[in-house]
């Protein structure tokens, strides 16, 4: 049977077919849909972990217990999971363990575009890289087999264009007859004290050599000879671009990008006149090929930054006089068109974050920010975020900045973090803030969901990925237990309360936490989000002062032609009745719609 699947859906399918019984992840674009799809297979226990390190540890435990486990995360998530990952390389596995790293060249939804192929080399773990959805499924199955055959975790690397592109996949059956998981004690392999680890390390090196050797005969490393004037070593989505733009060139398509199949590379290099490597981001393959003493061209013509596209690849080869299948030369451009206003993403109407950022802007706070929808608080007109580095960083960085600025400036420092991000890696930051008594104020924007990645549950939402009710972390109690003496909960739609409480806590020269308690409007679970009474502008009272526009709500529209100066209008189809704009109007021009 054939289906059109995204790379992520196909990985989930591959895990199912491979007999995987545990899948664990923390959501992160472009990896999120993998776990949302393993969920469809009842044979797989799928769960969200509070962060990627825990997700990998859950996977390791499942593997040690003898089950096949899949762990998925975005590229920066592997940084969080790196600690267990490097030692996992030494222990190896029992049941097959596959770690999916979904990289994001071009940073469509990320804070950096690190190339996680480097992790495979760094941690000495084999890495497979599929080039379409069919391969996503097949390589996932193969990754489980290699994992058990070579006693190693296996990384499967995708990029956004693989994760989120759909193509046709031939479905297969789930493997049967896998051993039943049970507790097995094997201290020499699973207790990585120096004495044991010293025994394991040489085995890891042997494993790498064995994989490199076997790589030459693996079907996923595919030598395709066409015209031999040009030979291109490539992998992943880049292979598709090469086939599109340079259809007559010979290719060595690497399905395993680490360790490299040296014999096959030598054979290919000897078969072609000029050798190239086409890869996004780092010269990962190129440097290894050069280290083999083989002359090759790569980053001389292809950028180290951003993702590749057919036109960028075409330009790279045309630039050195190699004919490509060019895009039609008459570019339409936007000549003759009026200039178009940009359409950046925006917080939703009724978003509980809006009033908080408006207030922080008014109070001229120095906002140590974090990662989530609320990072959009950086954009005008809210313009109230001053830093954003990585998940959970806001609190530690707030502590740090209060260590160096004057007592007066310390009062301006506020860390802002969402519920999911706080539980991901913010808790330790708060522990430190209390332990070392930073006067910074922490605001936890608790909207009951991991919103940015598309509404995933988390330990403070009360439900698991499988939609089972579970314990809901009591955030105020958690903060109190960490030693915060001043924990206050506010309604972020009440601007006066929001302003008063934030101001008071900013002025307090000791640790304090403010928790907002309104849910994301996108939470679909019944009874969580509730609309307020619909609002409307009273045209007679509206003076056109534009105060209501300062919160950037998509439901409020400026009508320049109305009245003397123009008037505001509230779109009844978008308004959620959050009431924030009504409180900003000094002329009583916003009230309940009739």
């Amino acid at each position: 049977m054939k289906e059109i699947l995204s790379g992520n859906e196909a990985i989930a399918r591959g895990a199912y077919e491979a007999g995987c019984i545990v899948a664990c992840a923390y959501p992160g674009t472009p990896s999120t849909e993998i776990l949302e799809n393993t969920l469809d297979y009842k044979e797989i226990n799928s769960s969200w972990a509070p962060n990627e390190k825990v997700a990998l540890e859950v996977g390791i435990g499942a593997s040690f217990g003898g089950g096949r486990a899949l762990v998925a995360m975005k590229h920066v998530g592997v940084n969080v999971a790196a600690d267990p990952l490097f030692t996992l390389s030494y222990t190896g596995v029992n049941g097959g363990l596959v770690l999916v790293s979904a990289d994001d060249p071009e940073m469509h939804s990320s804070q950096n575009e690190q190339d996680n192929r480097n992790y495979a080399k760094f941690a000495k773990i084999p890495m497979l890289e599929p080039s379409d959805s069919q391969e996503c499924k097949e390589f996932t199955r193969l990754a489980f087999e290699l994992s058990e055959q070579f006693d190693t975790p296996v990384m499967l690397r995708t990029t956004t264009r693989i994760s989120h592109s759909k193509s046709i996949v031939e479905l297969g059956e789930r493997v049967a007859d896998l051993p039943t998981p049970k507790l097995v004690k094997n201290a020499a392999k699973q207790v990585m004290l120096p004495g044991n680890a010293r025994v394991r390390h040489p085995l890891v090196e042997k494993r790498c050599s064995a994989l490199a050797e076997q790589g030459a005969s693996m079907a996923i490393n595919c030598l395709e000879l066409r015209e031999t004037t040009i030979g291109i070593i490539t992998s992943g989505v880049c292979y598709q671009y090469v086939r599109e733009v340079l259809p007559t060139a010979s290719t060595l398509k690497l399905g395993m990008v680490y360790p490299l199949p040296h014999a096959l590379i030598r054979e290919f290099a000897a078969s072609v006149d000029r050798l190239f490597v086409v890869e996004e981001l780092d010269p990962f393959i190129e440097e290894q090929v050069k280290a083999m003493g083989i002359a090759v061209v790569g980053k001389e013509i292809i950028s180290l930054c951003g993702e590749l596209t057919p036109e960028r690849l075409s330009a790279a080869f045309s630039g050195i006089g190699i004919a490509t299948v060019e895009t039609q030369t008459l570019k339409q451009g936007n000549a003759g068109m009026p200039s178009l206003p940009q359409r950046p993403p925006n917080m939703c109407p009724g978003c509980p974050h809006r009033g908080v950022f408006h207030t922080l802007n008014q109070l001229k706070a120095y906002v140590s920010g974090d990662i989530g929808c609320y990072t959009l608080g950086f954009m005008p007109p809210l313009s109230a975020m001053d830093t954003c580095v990585c998940m959970g960083a806001s609190i530690g960085m707030a502590t740090g900045v209060t260590k160096v600025v004057s007592v007066e400036e310390q009062k301006k420092v506020v860390a802002v973090i969402g519920d999911s991000t706080f539980l991901h890696t913010g808790v330790n930051g708060l522990m430190d803030l209390v332990y070392n008594q930073s006067p910074a104020t922490v605001i936890i924007l608790d909207n009951r969901i991991t919103a940015m990645t598309g509404r995933q549950d988390n330990p403070a939402s009360g439900f698991t990925l499988m939609n089972d009710p579970t314990h809901c972390v009591d955030l105020p109690l958690l903060c109190t237990a960490l030693g915060v003496k001043h924990v206050r909960t506010i309604n972020p739609f009440d601007l006066e309360q929001t302003r008063t409480v934030i101001q008071e806590e900013m002025n307090r020269p000791e640790p304090s936490v403010i928790i907002t308690d309104k849910p994301c409007i996108l939470v679909k679970r019944e009874g969580v989000f509730q609309k307020g009474p619909l609002l409307a502008v009273n045209d007679e009272n509206c003076t056109g002062c534009r105060a209501c526009l300062k919160i950037g709500c998509p439901a409020i529209e400026w009508c320049p032609g109305e009245g003397k100066k123009g008037k505001a209008y509230i779109n009844p189809q978008l308004c959620t009745g959050c009431d924030v704009c009504r409180q900003l109007c000094k002329f009583d021009a916003i009230g309940r719609a009739k």
């Binding site: 469509h108 759909k166 671009y241 299948v325 200039s339 400026w558």
Partner: protein
């Protein structure tokens, strides 16, 4: 590039149902026996940003993204977003656009105005330009929310894929209770000249 590949771009604003429309389109291509690839960037799509979805079909498709300047059909769900993506089309490409204006944040806030005369500008450059009042026709079919299906019908007219495959894809992807209205909406769009 390869003349055997047909390239379609679906553009609009996050939340307009672009992904579902591109899925129905891809499904149709697969049912008709073609190789098909589709690509778009998720993540920001729920936050009202610009969305571009690429669908390519033919005997064998390599790249999942349409090379710039190679689009055969631009399927626009919103007027300004349609204009923003015109450069993706090849000369002589077709533009099928919903006659709908969704103001972006800067326009909502009164800092910029929604550009005038966009339809004329498109018309001046592309002879095959169809501006569709999707909402009106969808209302005629029974539900204003079926506007995307009306437009899909108009797009279908320009592709050499038999009607049965379109209807089969709709049947598979649209919830049963909305199916009849969507069939009607599709045929209304398909009947547009």
């Amino acid at each position: 590039m390869s003349t055997e590949i047909t390239n379609i771009l679906l553009v609009g604003v996050g939340g307009q149902g672009i992904l579902l429309a591109s899925e129905i389109l891809s499904e149709t291509c697969m049912l008709a026996g073609y190789d098909v690839k589709k690509s778009e960037i998720h993540g920001m799509s729920q936050r009202g940003g610009s969305v571009v979805s690429h669908v390519r079909y033919g005997t064998k498709v390599f790249s999942p993204i349409v090379p710039e300047g190679e689009g055969d059909i631009l399927f626009g769900f919103e007027l300004m977003e349609t204009c923003r993506s015109l450069s993706l089309l090849k000369p002589g490409g077709s533009v099928i656009a919903n006659d709908l204006r969704i103001p972006p944040p800067s326009v909502l806030m009164g800092q910029e105005s929604y550009p005038e005369g966009l339809a004329n500008s498109i018309n001046n450059r592309f002879s095959d330009f169809l501006l569709v009042d999707g909402q009106k026709l969808a209302t005629e079919a029974g539900n204003p929310r079926a506007a995307n299906t009306v437009l899909l019908g108009a797009v279908s007219k320009r592709l050499a894929i038999a009607e049965e495959f379109w209807l089969a894809a709709l049947q598979k992807m649209v919830p049963a209770k909305a199916l009849e209205i969507n069939f009607k909406a599709f045929m209304l769009g398909r009947g547009l000249e």
